[in-house]
């Protein structure tokens, strides 16, 4: 985004990226309400950055960077969810989205628990790639590494996750 910030374009960006930023924040702090606040903060701070006259080359990467910084502080303070709380955090409104089957819910919750048990670096890269749905090039940009390095990290992290599951 360059030049005078466009309110309409920015709200469109919210519609486009809010879900992914929320998922990323939720995965970092494991509290739905706090994740929504962090997601809002990421957009609010990005808007302030634009209003101050700064240009942003890649809005998506910038939002992730802001969300990452905001969640670092939260991650220090947040408490780990209990197993029951994790299972209850379905992340959807039954009235507004099709319910998964019981098998899918249990498998998904198990997968997320194993993901959260990984080391920080592995969890971070898998959260960016699969929880937030970023393409590899964007993951690389957020992490500040070359795309090849990001691919290697993703592959290694998947291997570690696979080991935990089997």
């Amino acid at each position: 985004m360059k030049g005078r910030p466009d309110e309409r374009a920015f709200v469109e960006a919210y519609d486009r990226y809010a879900d992914a930023i929320f998922r990323y924040c939720y995965f970092r702090v494991r509290d739905r309400e706090r994740a929504k606040d962090l997601m809002h903060d990421a957009f609010a701070k990005t808007w302030a950055y634009l209003v101050a006259g700064n240009a942003i080359e890649n809005l998506q990467a910038f939002l992730y960077k802001v969300a990452h910084n905001a969640s670092v502080n939260e991650a220090v303070k947040s408490k780990a969810l209990s197993l029951d709380a994790l299972q209850e955090e379905g992340g959807y409104d039954p009235e507004e989205r099709a319910l998964p089957s019981p098998e899918e819910s249990a498998e998904g919750a198990l997968l997320m628990r194993n993901l959260e048990a990984l080391d920080d670096a592995s969890r971070e890269v898998l959260a960016l790639r699969y929880v937030s749905g970023l393409p590899v090039a964007e993951v690389a940009r957020v992490l500040g590494v070359a795309p090849n390095a990001a691919s290697v990290r993703i592959h290694r992290a998947l291997a570690k996750l696979r080991e935990k599951i089997t």
Binding site: Y49, G53, D93, E96, E107
Partner: protein, 329 residues
Amino acid sequence: MNNEFSSLERKLEEASARMALSVSEKDLGRARLREHMAAMPAPKRTVPFLAHGFRFAFALLLIVAVGGGAASAAENALPGSILYPLKTQITEPVRAAFAFAPEARADFAVERANRRLEEYAQVSDAGSADEETTASLAAALANHVDEATDAIRDLATAGDAIEALDATSDLHSILEAHASVLDQITEDGTSTPQAAADVGEALDNALADTSELSDTLEGVVASTGADDVASALDAKEEELQALIDDVRGRVEDAVSTLDASDELEVSGELSSVAALMEEARSLEEQGDLASALAVYAKANEELNRLGVLLQADVNLDIDIAAPEDAPLP
């Protein structure tokens, strides 16, 4: 193996997709963001790097013609001055680009926040704080506070929690001092109530953010090893002594603008800082390193506050002493 990975990737994506916002949550979030954007509207007229036509080209020509002289002259430029864009969009960003370490980034972001607040105080005093200028300054202040807190978090993540807490304390004490300057400007009637409210809100938000960050960092520092605290104490005492010398120098420069009550206040503050330094040294000798660090931090905050008020007194003839502290005639 590839099939297993593909299956795992697909399952991850499916499980993650279920972690999305509901429609109503997203609607509420959008409304909240719109509200925030309405409170911080995009300025009507921006001054981007190469799009201000003749005025900016002239400023650029000045740099070529007189080199560092123009950049130096721009250091004191205020909103509305031809050199102000040079200051905020070239000189400062160039300096920021060379602040590689988190501590340097934090220090410079704090300095930029301080500059925006000083600029606001000066344009208010001159009666030239229009809506656009105020909105721009408030937005820039919020931006610099975010830059500072981001750098501070990076510092803490890198293991320098003590330095991170120091930087947070610097930022917080400077913001608090400016809040009292803003109160005086508003009381004196040199700032429009709306302009004062806008900047005041930006200040309040910044103070809340730094308080929260400070609380978190205090917890981290409490678990810092004794060796790290001891070496931080040595550096801190040296740094504070240099700051005291700097403040004394500024007091000497400002002696002609200080009235009796202000001189008394400054003298009292410096004595209080000296007493705090003595207390910190004593605690350190007793082995209570954490308490010594906390007392040095208090001394640092008082010096920061005094520095801001001294500058405001020189620029705006703002009282350093609170009215109730003024000596009786």
